[in-house]
Amino acid sequence: MSELLKLDLLGASKALKAKSITSVELTNAYLTAIEKTSKLGAYLEIVSDHALEMAKASDKRLANNTSRALEGLPVGVKDMFCTKGIKTTASSKILENFCPPYESTVTQNLWNDGAVMLGKLSCDEFAMGSSNETAAKGNVINPWLKNINMSPGGSSGGSAAAVAARSALAATGTDTGGSIRQPAAFCGITGLKPTYGRCSRWGIVAFSSSLDQAGPLTRTVSDAALMLNSMASYDKKDSTSVNSLMPDLLSFLDKGVKGKKIGIPEEYTQEGISDDIVKFYQKSINWLKESGAEIIPISLPHTKYALPVYYIIAPAEASSNLARYDGVRYGVRKEAETLDQMYEQTRGNGFGDEVKRRIMIGTYVLSSGYYDAYYLKAQKVRRLIKEDFDNVFTNVDYILTPSTPTTAFQLGTKQDPLTMYLNDIFTVPASLAGLPAISLPVGLDNSGLPIGMQLIANAFDEPGLISTAKSLEQSAEFNFIADGVAK
């Protein structure tokens, strides 16, 4: 492996600023790595020329000491972010030719801070999935196991696989019910979903607007802090964007957990968790205790209703958001005799099975006669779930849970939609409550697959979340490297 690829985001940033490497060298190393790891299928679009141009511009700034926070650092972008003049498909056939005439706020923030764009990363179609298998162009392969094709998780599967395989220094993701944290856990990297409203949703292909939130997928907690520093911003173009300044997260890296209270929810330790994950959950609790945190058992009694609430609210919002794909203004049209037939065939042909299922569920729960029984009921239970967290955060500072009930599963083994939905059992509650949460790798299971732990913080406490995660990261000393990195 090239020495350049060994540097993490923060390390590379320091090396660039110390002028011991150049952005063009670094970018070239990543472009080569992308080529060598192409069989993983993480990238949908590679923009080599664009990347090298950006790298050259960064090198100029580095040379005259006008560099910015992410100057010269090559990153990948999940295909849910609109990128001006660069194809943005949301991994859907219906958008296979869509070339946005504008740039999403989050990616614009990255470029404004000097980051270099490598390309667009695969994901589940419209971010609906937990295995990256619903992508129109096919699944992505998890780089961890040599001989078995495991799922990288989803929906940000391409982002997670690329960071784990070192074909991107860092990547953006979006998280609706766990789409950053679950793939990060499956791929042995760090994934951070910020508080709802931290990152602008403007220019991100909408899935479930009350839940969607952008965040970084990185190798380390420090890298996540560096990325989120740039990604987060108040944006007038997103009416749910929150106007509250986020402090520089890098300054919280070494604050530790001494005296912090960590809640362990009894509802998350019940059934169906693999033995290895239970083992590392206990280890993680012990590590935090040894670092000076106080461990407090807590209860989040409505946890078991989180998935049912999610699978009403997310499809309902999706059915409404995806109404815009009508074959008139953009996207692939299927010609037909009448306007209605054109709509039906365009959508029937352009959307994949999982997307169609969710549109159907969403339409059903919003339809006349069922709205109160499903959608309104789900919104009420959502409040109870949020109140569970509000109550708990009067006693504790952070909550520790496993990120997923199992480690990565083999591609093609979960055929039944409900079985697939259960993957998000630990990540969905924080999404419904809009809370920031991070997944970081703490160990490997007996088949050599990474195990992720999740820390959840109160709204807008990303700084404390970073301190706590960093402490856990230092104790876990996870320094395994995926088998699939470019040799």
Binding site: N97, P101, I148, Y196, G197, S210, K236, S239, T240, E271, G272, I273, S274, D275, H302, L307, P308, Y311, I312, A323, D326, R329, Y330, R333, A336, T338, D340, M342, E344, Q345, R347, G348, K356, R357, M360, I361, T363, S367, A373, Y374, A378, Q379, K380, R382, R383, L384, F409, Q410, T413, K414, Q415, D416, P417, L418, T419, Y421, L422, A433, G434, S447
Partner: protein, 252 residues
Amino acid sequence: MALFFLVRSAFIIGFSIAKVDILSSCNNIGMSFISRKLLIKSRTESHLGPKLPSIFIGQPITIPVMSYSFKIIISSFKSERIFFLFMVRIGEATIKLESLTAIPSVFEPGSIPNSLFLGKIFNKNSSGLKIGIIDANRLPNKVKLNLWYERIKMSNNSIVDIPTVNKIARLSRLDIPEDKKQNLTNDLNNILGFVANLEEVDTSNVEPLASVTGHKLPQRNDEVVDGNIEDLVLKNAPESSGGFFVVPKVIE
């Protein structure tokens, strides 16, 4: 509308706490011994106790086992704790989902499930044989399954049927091919059955939550902030003409 599943066949996972060396019992005592023992226990318990029937609805149910076959040993994690799987064909029983992980799951004959078996699918408090439906993906990867199954169906005549699916598809403007409608109907019923357990939550004095941040939507002056970008607006249109989007004729 409830979360009850009509089951005509079930994969049953035995969970014995007897101190038996599973390999020797496999070779010497034989499967039928264990399975018979468990079966008897299950019959007894289903008459007796609140434990086993707690996963069933209504009166305690004797599970009329029409036939059963002992299929495989799942694993012997510890010597005193043995998991094994066998399949029982039962009369019709209505099973309530006991936990989020006990999801009815259908797997194809001859499929080879991967990932590790997780265990602990059933309530810790119950003893002896428990009945539920297990997830194929949680079986150990060394095991080749060749199981006979019957599809699990929703009771109460299902929540949605094909005419309802046609109606939703129409509202959603989705063209669904005829040969996919039955599968889609089954999927929708499974999902709607799964979410229906929200019914049991008392929400009589709860306000619906629409915004987690709780902040008021900001307002701005009604002014044009962007404009004169007709070309950009039309750039991605499948068909446009003279500054307009073109659609099939809508007026006769």
